[in-house]
Amino acid sequence: MAREEIWIDRTKCDGHRLCAELLPELITLDDWGYPIIAAGPVPEHLLEHARRAVAACPVLALRLRTLSQPSPSRN
């Protein structure tokens, strides 16, 4: 099964914070209310929650990417 990681477009993120509410295991907030996303693949048991968190973002800043992507992203 392909491993997936959370990718965030930092230019789109406006700090709505729904992702941190829906995936507190992997997403916490910094001192200014913006998400700190744990690096690495999403654990199996959290994948469904991760999908929900990604879908909940009001500005579509989040995406789930398969880890085999060649171009390394900044998170």
Binding site: K12, D14, G15, H16, L18, E21, L22, A56, L60
Partner: protein, 193 residues
């Protein structure tokens, strides 16, 4: 099926739709103004906004279906999608068709948001501010019991709620703390082609 039952179902579903859609507008404004409180997280506002709008569609579906199959109205299916295509109260019914189609566009684009992108979604979503008043006018114009106290009370309540929401939307600024600075910087680094 009894004529009265169908007629009352149409009327009832219509009123419930109005109440739910009013809730949707209020929740929408609360979403964009990032409302949250102890025990009421952001995702609750956003989730309710979505689910209540889907529920409203269900009641709207019942409202339209019972109106069409009701032998008394002899509407046929055409007015469901073609505005102002009915003989019965052409204009006011037509408004209902318009409101329904606007709502459909908003819901479909929202469900497919990931595919169409944030900008296109936003553009269509603005139509909500047109859809709601058109729906209300439809209700006022097609109602046979327009003078009924309860109906009037509900309509006034809904109007007050939406006016308050719109006022909140217009009179408060975006809670996005970067909005002003982002725009200012963009100005600094933009040039004519």
């Amino acid at each position: 099926m009894s004529n009265s039952l169908l007629w009352y179902t149409t009327r009832g579903a219509g009123v419930v739709s109005l109440l739910l859609l009013t809730g949707v507008v209020v929740l929408g404004v609360l979403s964009v103004r990032r409302f949250e409180a102890a025990g009421w997280p952001r995702f609750l506002t956003v989730g309710l906004h979505r689910n209540v709008s889907l529920l409203a569609l269900v009641f709207l579906g019942v409202h339209i279906l019972t109106a069409v199959v009701d032998p008394f109205t002899s509407l046929g299916w055409v007015p469901v999608l073609i505005p102002f295509g009915s003989y019965y109260r052409t204009f006011w019914l037509g408004l209902g068709t318009v409101a329904f189609e606007l709502l459909l566009a908003i819901v479909v684009t929202s469900l497919l948001r990931a595919f169409i992108g944030a900008w296109a979604w936003r553009l269509v979503h603005w139509l909500a501010y047109a859809a709601w008043p058109i729906a209300v006018l439809h209700g006022i114009g097609t109602g046979t019991d327009a003078g009924s106290f309860w109906l009037l009370a509900i309509q006034v309540l809904c109007a007050v709620a939406v006016l308050a929401a719109v006022a909140l939307r217009l009179l408060t600024s975006s809670p996005d703390p970067l909005a002003a600075d982002r725009a200012r910087f963009r100005e600094r680094v933009s040039r004519e082609p």
